[in-house]
């Protein structure tokens, strides 16, 4: 997993860009294991327009530090839990997706 961390505000991105979309500072490439833990999660039953429900959202804390909001893959049988281990499984059209370990 490749991450791009803003040198200014520390925001983490999974797609490369020259400057941070948030603060405009330059980006630094940072290899990441893709592993993280669930900092919090919610199963969304009434969602945003055009997004089929339910879906799992999680704030994931990466092993290397920093958090990103992501989808948790819903094809898992296991229930999410705070502190539960997750691993990056790819980018979808709704951003990063992690699956539970």
């Amino acid at each position: 997993m490749e991450t791009f961390v803003c040198a200014g505000c520390g925001r983490i991105y999974l797609e490369q860009s020259e400057r941070c979309g948030h603060c405009g500072a330059e980006m630094e490439e940072r290899p990441a294991s893709g592993r993280g833990i669930v900092y919090s999660f919610s199963s969304v039953h009434m969602g945003a327009r055009g997004m089929p429900t339910p879906y799992l959202l999680a704030l994931v804390e990466l092993e290397e530090g920093g958090r990103i909001l992501a989808r948790l893959a819903d094809d898992d049988e296991s229930e999410p839990s705070i502190g539960g281990k997750v691993i990056f499984s790819g980018l979808s059209d709704t951003g990063p997706v992690f699956r539970m370990l």
Binding site: S42, A48, M51, L59, P96
Partner: protein, 386 residues
């Protein structure tokens, strides 16, 4: 800077309203001017809170439209947008305009018309109050953000689902006594606990209402206030603070830094302590949000906010009733109107005109208005005339 007082307050009933966005604003403005016994020609500046006129009804630039409909003439008109804190920001700008001596009378209003949109469309419009690039794009809605916050608060501080649900029960019990509230009926604890899930752990009754409505107040210098109203209400503090909306930018999502900062600043301005506050209107966009605000403002220790509704301190009859209006939960949450409606409720209470929901002998009231997931916060402290 000179002291500022409220000499007029007006509101429309909240709920599903037939009137247009602009007409709602104008009705509240006229009610406030009438309450102050002032003609529109006396107003020197107009500040209007509105979040998303364009997105909900296709109309922006509404401050001069509401002013024109109210007969204000050529006065400077400014629209303030700070998501759900838009009304609080309008109030603060009005306070500054009068305090600085720039104008002698300022009219403040807040308005939103939301019920014309479908629920999922509304969720998407409201999601733009968060950081769209890293939140809405992933499928986050405001209930989802507060679902994440609630779950973490429960995990870290031991707050229970029951404690969170009690906030809804309390605020509906209050709203039942407010003839302008959107929903004027009780809900039971099992109804809240067993409601359809929206973004777990939050269900339907943990969410504030999608409402139409407007509220307005008239401000003038305190030194001349008694000439315009027999019970002027003094603005003892007007504070505002900011933070990043994105949950991923926050070190701790169980607290809102902007609320802490605005609260500290407000208490410092007023020279008062938490014990001096007789009642508060707290931004309960979600049940969980009321608990967090009570902690952030220093009324409860971290993790103890849930006790407020359960043990009755924040109920009518308790030590510091919270959301006697019914709050966003029961009175309704026309986003841009909310911050001004909180001021309206405190004004009634501090005049002793709140009817069945009156807090006996109320002398000091606090209004807490939060924008988005804590990016903007306005806190006002008001005092009754001695």
């Amino acid at each position: 800077m000179r002291g500022v007082s409220i000499v007029g307050a007006g509101i429309t009933p909240f709920g599903v309203r037939e009137e247009s966005l602009v007409a709602l604003g104008a009705i509240a403005c006229r009610n406030a001017l009438e309450d102050a016994g002032l003609g529109p020609e006396r107003i020197g500046a107009f500040f209007l809170g509105n979040f998303a006129g364009q997105a909900f009804v296709g109309q922006n630039h509404i401050a001069p439209m509401v002013a024109h409909a109210t007969g204000l003439g050529a006065v400077p008109c400014t629209r303030l947008e700070g998501a759900c804190a838009s009304g609080g920001l309008a109030m603060r700008q009005g306070v500054l305009a009068v305090a600085s001596g720039q104008v002698d009378f300022a009219l403040i209003a807040g308005v939103e018309k939301m019920t014309c949109a479908e629920t999922d469309e509304t969720a998407s419009i409201l999601a733009a109050a968060g950081d769209v690039a890293v939140e809405a794009s992933v499928g986050s809605t405001f209930p989802a953000l507060f679902g994440l916050i609630a779950r973490r608060h429960m995990h870290e501080h031991g707050t229970t689902r029951e404690e969170i649900a009690h906030v809804a029960v309390k605020n509906h019990a209050h709203g039942k006594l407010n003839p302008n509230a959107h929903i004027q009926k009780d809900v039971t604890l099992p109804q809240v606990m067993d409601a359809r899930p929206v973004a777990d752990p939050l269900g339907l009754f943990d969410c504030s209402l999608i409402s139409d409505g407007a509220a307005a107040v008239v401000l003038c210098p305190s030194e001349t206030a008694s000439a315009h109203h027999e019970k002027p209400v003094e603005v003892l503090a007007s504070a505002q603070a900011s933070d990043s909306p994105a949950l991923s930018d926050k070190r701790d999502i169980t607290t809102f830094y902007a609320t802490q900062k605005a609260g500290e600043e407000a208490f410092s301005q007023a020279g008062l302590s938490r014990e001096d506050v007789d009642l508060a209107e707290i931004h309960d966009c979600f049940t969980m949000a009321e608990i967090i605000a009570l902690e952030d403002l220093g009324f409860f220790a971290r993790g103890e906010g849930g006790r407020g509704a359960v043990e009755g301190m924040t109920k009518l009859g308790g030590a510091m009733p919270v959301n006697t209006s019914g709050g966003l939960k029961s009175k309704g949450h026309p986003v841009g109107a909310t911050g001004v409606a909180q001021i309206h409720e405190l004004t009634l209470q501090l005049r002793g005109e709140a009817g069945a929901r009156q807090v006996p002998g109320a002398e000091v009231g606090l209004a807490h208005n939060l924008g988005g997931s804590g990016a903007t916060c306005a806190v006002h402290i008001l005092g009754a005339t001695a």
